[in-house]
C-alpha cells in the first residue's frame, strides 16, 4: 500500500513540473518544447494514480485488520432499519468478501452493501502549522473517492496535455500555458487528497486561480480578461460561503480533520443539526460558484473564453466538479444538514435539479458550440448535485466519472472542429464537417450519445442511477427531482442532436477548407470516446451482469469508492436497480433525439439524410406517418418549450442573472465611489480638513486682538484682570 501512504508524490510531480517549466523551461528546455516536461510528469502521475487505484482495490478486497473499522452500534434512535441491519451484518462478518455484499443487495436490502468498512489511508506528514495549540497536519487522505478522482484527473489531464501540443502550438505563451496546466493539475490533485478542510480550501483556491490564469490566457483581448475576472470573482463570492462554512464546521467540531468530522457526525448523527445546516448552506454557496450551480453559474459559459483544452480539463472534467467532490467528501455534513435521509426535497437537491433544468434549457439557445457544451456542463453538474441531494452518493460520483470522459471528449472535439474551421466556435459557420473530419465526428457522436444517456454508453448507466435515486430517495422519494431529471434527460438528448446537426451535417457555411486534425488530437479523442463507451461498466448493476456471470464485477464504484465507513453510520441506502426506470430514461433520451432529428432534418427537407441514418429513418417514418406528432413538436414542444421557455430562460439568464453578477461588480464600484467621495473624502477627511481650516481661520480671527495699539493691549490686560477678579471674587 506504499502508493496510498505516499500519495503526496502524485501532486508533487506536476508541481515540480510547474517550477521546472516556468523557471527553467525557456533556458534549458526551449519554450516550444516544454510540453515534454508536462507530458512526462503527467504520465508519471497517471502511472502512480493507477498504482494507487490498484492498491486501493486491493485494500478493499483483502483488507488488513487495521484497515477495517470495527463499527459499533450507531444510534438506534436514528430509526433507519437498513442501517441497523448493516450494523449487525458488520458486527458478524466484517471479514466477509464482497460476494456477500452482492448477495445482500440481491436479497433486497435496498442495494446496501455489507462489505467491510474500509478506513481511508490517512498519512500525516508534519505539523504544517499550529496556532494557539491547534495543530494543522498537512497530509493525504486517500480512499476510493480520492483514487477515482485521481484517475479522472490524471487521465484527462494527460490527454489534454497531449492534445494541446497541437492545439496551442506556436502560441506566444506556450510555456506559460503548460506551466499552468501543470500547476492546475497539481492543485487539483492536492485538492482531491486533502486531509483536512484547510487543505480543501487551499486546493480549492489554487484551482480557482489556475482557472483564472488559463481563462485569461489570451489576455490581450478584453472579453477574455473580463471572463477570467468574472470567473474568479464569482468563485470568490462562493468562497465566502466556503470560508464561513468551514469555520462553522471547525467551530462545531474543533477539528479540521475531514476524517474526524465525518466520523463525529456519522457516529452521532442527530447532534449539531443547526450548525450543520448553517455549514451546509454556506458550503452550498461555495459549490454553487465552483460547480456552476444556479444562481452563480453564469461565469462558466463565459469561461469558455479560455483555450478549448483548458475548457475540457478545467471547466468540464475536473475543476468544476470540485464542488461536487467536496459535497461527496463531506457528505455527512450535508446529509445531516439538509436532512437528506428524511426529506423529500431539500436545498441541495432543488438547486441541483433546477440548475440541471435551466442549464439544459439554456443550451438550446446558444450558437457557440462551446457555450452549448458549457451549459450542458452546468446542467450535468446540476445533475450530480441533485443526485447528492437525494442521497444517491454513488450515482453522483459515477456520473462525475463518466461525465468527465464524454464531456472532455466533446470539448476536445469542439476544439478540433474549431481548429479545423478557422478558430470559430460559432455553429452557424460550421456544418457538413462530418465528411472532412471523420474522427472528430465519430467521437463527437459517441460522446453525445453517452451524454444523452443512450444505452449502452456510459451516460446511460450513470444517469439511470441518478433518476433511480431520485425516485427512491432515502426514506422518501424525491418526486420533483425525478421530474426535473426526466425533463433534463429529454432536453439533453435534444440539444446535443441540435449541435451535431449544425456542426457536422448540412452544408459547410464557414470559410476555407476544413480538414481533419492531426493524430495527436484525434487519438486523445478516441481514447476518451472509448471511455465514453465503456466507463459505464464500472458500476453496472448486478442484474445486468448476472446473465453473463460477472455479477462479481457489479457496483465496482459503489464498492470501491463509497466511503461507507462514514455513510454507513448515516444509514444511507442504495436503491435496487429498476428496469422500468432505465427504460423510461432511455425512452426520454431517444425521444429527445428523435424529435430534434425530425425538427431539423425534416424541416429542411433533407430526406436523403434520413435514408442513410438508421435511427433517424425509423423515427422519421414514425413521425412522417403520424403528422400530429410533428405538429405536437412544432406547436407544443417547440413553441412552448424552446421558444418561450428557453428564450425566457436565456433572457433571464443574460439579463437578470448575468447582469446581476455584472451589476454586482459595477454596483460595488459605484458604492465604492460614492463612499469614497462622500464618506471618506467628504465626511471623514472633510471633517479633518475642516478642523484644520477651522484652526487656521480662528487663528486669523484671533489675530485681530493683536491690533498693534498698546492701549488696546492695556485694555485687554486690565480688562482681563477685572474680569478674572470678578469671576474669582464674586462667582467662585
Amino acid at each position: 500500500m506504499w502508493m496510498l501512504e505516499n500519495a503526496f508524490l502524485i501532486p508533487l510531480i506536476p508541481a515540480i513540473s510547474f517550477v521546472v517549466i516556468l523557471f527553467f523551461g525557456k533556458r534549458y528546455i526551449g519554450a516550444d518544447r516544454v510540453h515534454v516536461v508536462g507530458i512526462t510528469a503527467l504520465s508519471l502521475v497517471w502511472l502512480l494514480s493507477a498504482v494507487a487505484a490498484f492498491q486501493w482495490t486491493q485494500r478493499v478486497e483483502n483488507p488488513t485488520p487495521d484497515a477495517v473499522v470495527q463499527i459499533e452500534h450507531h444510534g438506534d434512535d436514528h430509526g433507519d432499519d437498513h442501517g441497523d441491519d448493516h450494523g449487525d451484518d458488520h458486527g458478524d462478518d466484517h471479514g466477509d468478501d464482497h460476494g456477500a455484499a452482492v448477495g445482500d443487495s440481491e436479497g433486497g436490502h435496498g442495494g446496501g452493501h455489507s462489505s467491510p468498512l474500509i478506513r481511508p489511508v490517512i498519512s500525516t506528514f508534519s505539523q504544517w502549522w499550529s496556532n494557539a495549540g491547534v495543530d494543522f497536519a498537512v497530509g493525504t487522505f486517500v480512499d476510493g473517492q480520492t483514487v477515482l478522482l485521481l484517475m479522472v484527473v490524471a487521465t484527462i489531464s494527460l490527454l489534454v496535455h497531449i492534445y494541446s501540443t497541437e492545439y496551442v502550438k506556436g502560441d506566444r505563451r506556450y510555456l506559460h500555458y503548460y506551466a499552468f496546466l501543470s500547476l492546475f493539475t497539481a492543485s487539483m490533485l492536492f485538492f482531491v487528497m486533502a486531509q483536512n478542510i484547510i487543505q480543501l480550501i487551499v486546493g480549492w483556491e489554487l484551482v480557482g486561480v489556475c482557472s483564472f490564469v488559463l481563462i485569461g490566457h489570451w489576455w490581450e483581448e478584453k472579453p477574455n480578461t473580463d471572463a477570467a475576472l468574472k470567473a474568479f470573482l464569482t468563485n470568490r463570492v462562493g468562497d465566502v460561503g466556503l470560508l464561513v462554512g468551514m469555520i462553522v464546521l471547525w467551530g462545531t467540531f474543533q477539528t479540521f480533520d475531514i476524517d474526524a468530522i465525518n466520523t463525529l457526525i456519522s457516529t452521532n448523527p442527530g447532534a449539531h443539526h443547526l450548525a450543520l445546516l448553517v455549514a451546509a448552506c454556506c458550503l452550498m454557496a461555495a459549490v454553487a460558484s465552483k460547480s456552476g450551480q444556479f444562481p452563480l453559474h453564469t461565469w462558466l459559459p463565459d469561461a469558455m473564453a479560455g483555450p478549448t483544452p483548458v475548457s475540457a480539463l478545467i471547466h468540464a472534467a475536473t475543476m468544476v466538479v470540485a464542488g461536487v467532490y467536496m459535497i461527496a467528501r463531506l457528505y455527512p455534513v450535508f446529509y445531516e444538514g439538509f436532512s437528506i435521509g428524511t426529506s423529500s426535497i431539500n436545498l441541495m437537491a432543488f438547486i441541483g435539479g433546477f440548475t440541471a433544468l435551466i442549464g439544459a434549457g439554456l443550451a438550446f439557445a446558444q450558437w457557440d458550440i462551446k457555450k452549448v457544451l458549457a451549459y450542458s456542463t452546468v446542467s450535468q453538474l446540476g445533475y450530480m448535485v441533485m443526485a447528492l441531494g437525494v442521497g444517491a452518493w454513488t450515482a453522483a460520483m459515477f456520473h462525475l466519472f463518466t461525465h468527465a470522459f464524454f464531456k472532455a471528449c466533446l470539448f476536445l472535439g469542439a476544439g478540433s472542429v474549431s481548429h479545423a474551421a478557422h478558430h470559430t466556435f460559432d455553429m452557424r459557420e460550421m456544418g457538413g464537417l462530418r465528411k472532412d473530419m471523420p474522427h472528430t465526428y465519430r467521437t463527437f457522436v459517441i460522446s453525445s450519445l453517452a451524454l444523452a444517456g443512450i444505452f449502452p454508453f456510459a451516460g446511460f448507466w450513470s444517469k439511470d442511477e441518478i433518476l433511480l435515486g431520485s425516485l427512491v430517495g432515502q426514506q422518501n422519494g424525491y418526486p420533483l427531482m425525478l421530474i426535473f431529471g426526466c425533463a433534463v434527460a429529454l432536453m439533453t438528448a435534444a440539444y446535443m442532436t441540435r449541435v451535431i446537426w449544425y456542426t457536422f451535417h448540412g452544408e459547410f457555411r464557414g470559410h476555407g477548407q476544413p480538414h481533419e486534425s492531426p493524430k495527436v488530437m484525434t487519438v486523445p479523442l478516441w481514447i476518451l470516446a472509448g471511455m465514453a463507451v465503456v466507463a459505464g461498466a464500472f458500476n453496472l448493476p448486478g442484474p445486468v451482469l448476472e446473465p453473463i456471470g460477472l455479477e462479481g464485477l457489479a457496483h465496482r464504484i459503489q464498492t470501491y469508492a463509497e466511503p461507507s465507513v462514514y455513510l454507513n453510520g448515516l444509514g444511507l441506502s442504495h436503491p435496487d436497480p429498476s428496469l422500468t426506470m432505465a427504460l423510461v430514461g432511455l425512452a426520454l433520451a431517444l425521444s429527445g433525439i428523435v424529435i430534434t432529428y425530425l425538427y431539423y432534418w425534416r424541416r429542411r427537407g433533407l430526406h436523403g439524410l434520413t435514408e442513410r441514418n438508421r435511427y433517424a429513418r425509423t423515427g422519421y417514418k414514425v413521425l412522417e406517418n403520424k403528422y400530429y406528432l410533428d405538429h405536437l413538436y412544432n406547436d407544443v414542444v417547440v413553441d412552448t418549450v424552446k421558444r418561450p421557455i428557453a428564450k425566457w430562460a436565456n433572457d433571464f439568464n443574460q439579463n437578470v442573472l448575468d447582469r446581476a453578477v455584472n451589476t454586482a461588480g459595477e454596483t460595488a464600484r459605484d458604492v465604492g465611489r460614492w463612499v469614497y467621495k462622500w464618506i471618506d473624502q467628504g465626511a471623514i477627511d472633510g471633517s479633518v480638513n475642516a478642523a484644520a481650516r477651522g484652526a487656521d481661520s480662528s487663528g486669523e480671527g484671533l489675530r485681530s486682538i493683536q491690533s498693534g495699539k498698546v492701549q488696546n493691549y492695556g485694555q485687554l490686560l486690565f480688562g482681563a484682570a477685572a474680569v478674572l477678579a470678578i469671576v474669582f471674587v464674586i462667582v467662585v
Binding site: W128, G133, E205, L206, W219, L243, W250, R669, V675
Partner: protein
C-alpha cells in the same frame, strides 16, 4: 536568563548600527556619492547580519520569554530604564524591519527620486530604521515611545521632500495625525505608570513593560482601564490605521516616494498593531475586553470600507493604500478576538501585509518611474510591455487577495476563523457577524485587485504608451524584490515559521486576558 558577553550588545547593535551609519554619512561630503551609499548599505547590512545572528541564537524553545535582555539605567528620575529584549513577538517584526531597509536602499541605489540628494535620503532611511528596530525591542514604555516617535520626522521628510505633487499636505497630515495619537498615547502611558499596582496593592510606578505585563492591570479598576485604553487606542489605532482615522494613509502613501511607501506599509503600520498586542492588551486586559467588540466593529468596517475605497480609486498607489486599510482591518479583527488564535493570525497578517503590500508599492513605484503616471486608466498591457513586472504584479495581487499557498492567506483566514470563537467574555454573535462581513471583504479584495490587474497588466498598452519602450525589471529591482517574493512564498507554504515563534508570547497574553475575563 542571564545574558552575557556579546549577547548583551546584539540588540543595541541591531538598533543603532543604522544610526551610526547615518552619523558617518553626515560627515562624508556630498560629492562622495558612492561612498555615501556604500556606508549606508553597509551599516544596514551589518544590522541585518546582527539580526541574523539574533535569529540563530534565539532560543525558540523559550520564545515566550524575553531574550537578549539588557536593563540599564536611563532616566532615573522618572524611573524609566533602557530595557531592550526580544521575544517571539518581536523577533519576526524586527527581522522584517531589518530586511526591508537594506532592500529599500538597494532599490534606491540608482533611483533617488527627485530632487535627488542621496546623502539626505539615505540618512533619513537609516534614522528611520533605528526608530523602527528600536520600537520592536524596547521593553520600557518611555523607550518605546521615543523610538515610536523617532520614525516620524524622517518619514515626514521622506514624504515631504521626495514625494509627489501634493506632498506637503500629505506629509503634514501624516505627521499631525500621528502626533495627536502619540500625545494621547503618552498620557495613557503615564496613567499606567501612576495607577499600576502589583498584586499586593502597592503602587508600582514603573514603565517597565515586563512588570506591567506581569501585573496585567489588576490594580486598575475597569472604568479607568477603559479610559486609558481609549488613549492607547487613539495612539495605536491612528498608526494602524483604523477606520475612521485612516485618512492620512492614502495621502501619505500616494505622495510618498516608493521606498517611503514600502517602509510605511511594511513596517510603520505594524507599530500600531504591535502596540496593541504588546502594550494595550496585556497591560489593560479589562479595558481590552470592553473595547474589543468596538475594535472588531471598526476593523470590519475598515475591511469593507477600505475595499470600497479601493474600488473608487483612479490612482494605482492610492488603491494599494486603501487596500492597506482593508488588510489591517483583518489584522485588527484578529486582535479584537483576544484569542491566541486571532492574535497569532494578526501577527502573521502583519508580516504578510508588510511583504505583500511592500511588494505592490515597489511595483507601483517602478511603474511610475517608467510611465510617469499611476493613473489606472492610462496604464494597460503591462504584461506585454514588461512581462516580468506584470507577472510580479499579478503574483503580488494574488498574494494580497489572500490566495492560499501565499503569505496573505495565513493572516486573513485564521483571523476570520478566530472571530467565530472570540475570547472569553466577548459577544459571540457579534463576532460571528464580523466574521461573515470580513469574509465578504475577501470578495471585494479580489474584486479591486483583479480589476486593478486587468486594467494595468492585461490588454494592449494604451495608445499613449504604445510606441514606448518600457524597460522590464532591472538588476536593482530584482535584488530588492526577490527577498520579498521569496518571503511571500515561503511563509505561504510554511506558515509555522511565524506561528511557531509568536505563539508562546501570544498565548501568555491571552491566558492573562482569559483569566481576568473569567475572574470578573
Amino acid at each position: 536568563m542571564e545574558v552575557t558577553g556579546f549577547d548583551t550588545w546584539v540588540l543595541s547593535l541591531a538598533v543603532f548600527l543604522p544610526l551610526v551609519g547615518a552619523l558617518v554619512i553626515m560627515l562624508i561630503p556630498k560629492a562622495y556619492e558612492m561612498e555615501l551609499k556604500l556606508v549606508a548599505l553597509g551599516s544596514s547590512l551589518m544590522a541585518l547580519v546582527v539580526g541574523a545572528y539574533i535569529a540563530v541564537q534565539f532560543d525558540y524553545g523559550a520564545a515566550g520569554e524575553l531574550q537578549f535582555v539588557v536593563d540599564k539605567g536611563w532616566i532615573d528620575v522618572i524611573n524609566s530604564r533602557y530595557i531592550v529584549g526580544l521575544d517571539g513577538l518581536s523577533l519576526p517584526l524586527l527581522l522584517l524591519s531589518l530586511v526591508v531597509v537594506p532592500l529599500c536602499l538597494i532599490y534606491s541605489w540608482n533611483h533617488i527620486p527627485d530632487p535627488g540628494n542621496p546623502k539626505a535620503f539615505f540618512v533619513l532611511l537609516l534614522i528611520l530604521s533605528t526608530g523602527m528596530n528600536g520600537s520592536f525591542v524596547a521593553q520600557d514604555m518611555i523607550l518605546f515611545f521615543v523610538f515610536f516617535e523617532v520614525v516620524l520626522l524622517p518619514m515626514y521628510f521622506l514624504i515631504g521632500v521626495w514625494g509627489g505633487e501634493d506632498r506637503r499636505y500629505a506629509s503634514l497630515k501624516f505627521f499631525l495625525y500621528t502626533l495627536f495619537g502619540s500625545a494621547l498615547m503618552i498620557i495613557s502611558f503615564l496613567a499606567l505608570f501612576f495607577l499600576s499596582k502589583d498584586a499586593s496593592g502597592e503602587l508600582l510606578q514603573t514603565f517597565d513593560m515586563r512588570v506591567l505585563t506581569d501585573v496585567a492591570g489588576v490594580g486598575i479598576i475597569k472604568s479607568t482601564q477603559v479610559w486609558i485604553f481609549a488613549g492607547l487606542f487613539m495612539g495605536f489605532g491612528i498608526k494602524v490605521p483604523m477606520f475612521p482615522f485612516h485618512t492620512w494613509l492614502p495621502d501619505a502613501h500616494t505622495q510618498a516616494p516608493t521606498v517611503g511607501s514600502v517602509i510605511l506599509a511594511a513596517v510603520l503600520l505594524k507599530l500600531g498593531t504591535y502596540g496593541f498586542i504588546r502594550i494595550a492588551i496585556p497591560f489593560l486586559p479589562e479595558g481590552a475586553i470592553a473595547w474589543a467588540p468596538w475594535i472588531g466593529l471598526l476593523a470590519v468596517i475598515g475591511i469593507i470600507y477600505g475595499a470600497l475605497g479601493c474600488l473608487a480609486q483612479k490612482d494605482m498607489k492610492r488603491l494599494i493604500a486603501f487596500s492597506s486599510v482593508a488588510h489591517m482591518g483583518f489584522v485588527m479583527l484578529g486582535i479584537a478576538t483576544l484569542t491566541d488564535f486571532g492574535i497569532n493570525a494578526a501577527v502573521f497578517g502583519m508580516i504578510a501585509h508588510g511583504l505583500i503590500t511592500g511588494m505592490l508599492f515597489f511595483v507601483a513605484g517602478s511603474i511610475k518611474e517608467r510611465y510617469h503616471t499611476l493613473e489606472i486608466s492610462r496604464l494597460g498591457g503591462l504584461l506585454k510591455a514588461a512581462p516580468r513586472m506584470g507577472w510580479i504584479l499579478g503574483f503580488a495581487s494574488m498574494a494580497s487577495l489572500g490566495l492560499p499557498g501565499l503569505a496573505g492567506f495565513w493572516g486573513e483566514f485564521p483571523a476570520i476563523l478566530a472571530a467565530y470563537n472570540p475570547g472569553a467574555g466577548m459577544p459571540e454573535e457579534t463576532f460571528r457577524t464580523y466574521m461573515v462581513i470580513a469574509a465578504i471583504g475577501t470578495v471585494l479584495a479580489a474584486g479591486y485587485l483583479l480589476w486593478l490587474y486587468q486594467r494595468t497588466a492585461f490588454g494592449e498598452p494604451t495608445e499613449e504608451f504604445a510606441g514606448h519602450e518600457i524597460a522590464d525589471v532591472n538588476r536593482d529591482e530584482w535584488i530588492a524584490w526577490t527577498p520579498f517574493l521569496i518571503g511571500i512564498v515561503l511563509f505561504g507554504i510554511w506558515p509555522n515559521l511565524i506561528f511557531n515563534v509568536t505563539d508562546d508570547v501570544v498565548s501568555g497574553i491571552t491566558a492573562t486576558v482569559e483569566a481576568i475575563a473569567a475572574g470578573s
